[in-house]
Symmetry: C2
Subunit: 135 residues, 2 copies
């Protein structure tokens, strides 16, 4: 996004303009919570993201410096997607979104055990998620 296109210099606005869409944080969720790394793994999520939407979101997340795309060593046909430090810094946001959704969605199917853990020891929980996702 060009500097001049921004609605404002507010930090929250910056965040929303980069990850405030319906799909980006679901992809990051898959990487952080489920360790997904490849195109096919992202496609297989419950939300059934479309192939074209996935490709676009991945390339925009790469452009935003949130993830990197590198050829897979084990399978030459595939690319692997990995979170950058900037992407790993999204962990707290995901934790909060999980807590808020689990607390207020009447039909939630969230893993409440995980939520409770997050609430009980937020810092440690985040550190562990980050460490696991940083592989």
């Amino acid at each position: 996004m060009k500097r001049t296109d921004r609605k404002s210099d507010c930090a929250i606005n910056y965040s929303l303009e980069h990850i405030g869409d319906q799909w980006s944080l679901l992809i990051v969720r898959d990487m952080i919570y489920f360790g997904k790394r490849t195109y096919g793994e992202f496609l297989a999520s419950d939300e059934r993201i479309g192939t074209s939407v996935l490709a676009r979101r991945l390339s925009e997340l790469e452009r935003s410096g949130i993830l990197t795309k590198t050829p897979s060593q084990t399978d030459k046909r595939k690319d692997e997607y990995h979170l950058t430090p900037k992407g790993l810094d999204l962990v707290p946001i995901l934790v909060d979104l999980t807590e808020w959704g689990a607390a207020h969605d009447p039909d939630t199917g969230a893993d409440l055990h995980t939520i409770v853990k997050a609430k009980a020891n937020r810092t440690g929980f985040i550190r562990r998620l980050r460490a696991a996702a940083a592989v």
Copy 2:
């Protein structure tokens, strides 16, 4: 949003489908960080939200149970918008979005003093924001 329209039962997905747009959290930010309560105050923000967009977002946030709309006591022409407990629970998300944006936006104009305070004592910071916004 009808139950059957949901992409999935994931708690994160629930959150994104309710507040994952470009404007909702900016309105909530104005209420929490700046104590804004009225239509005109929201209109005056840096991002220059349009009148029709503001009206739609306010009514959807009301429908989602995030804020309430009540006639102002002091000025009979106005309505007042107040956060519900569900809306107040968005405070941690806003704090995280602020931190992430401030950390990674090269052109940020965020109040870094505030950010540092938030990092140093997250719990206390959130409690104070909540208390102020709950008026």
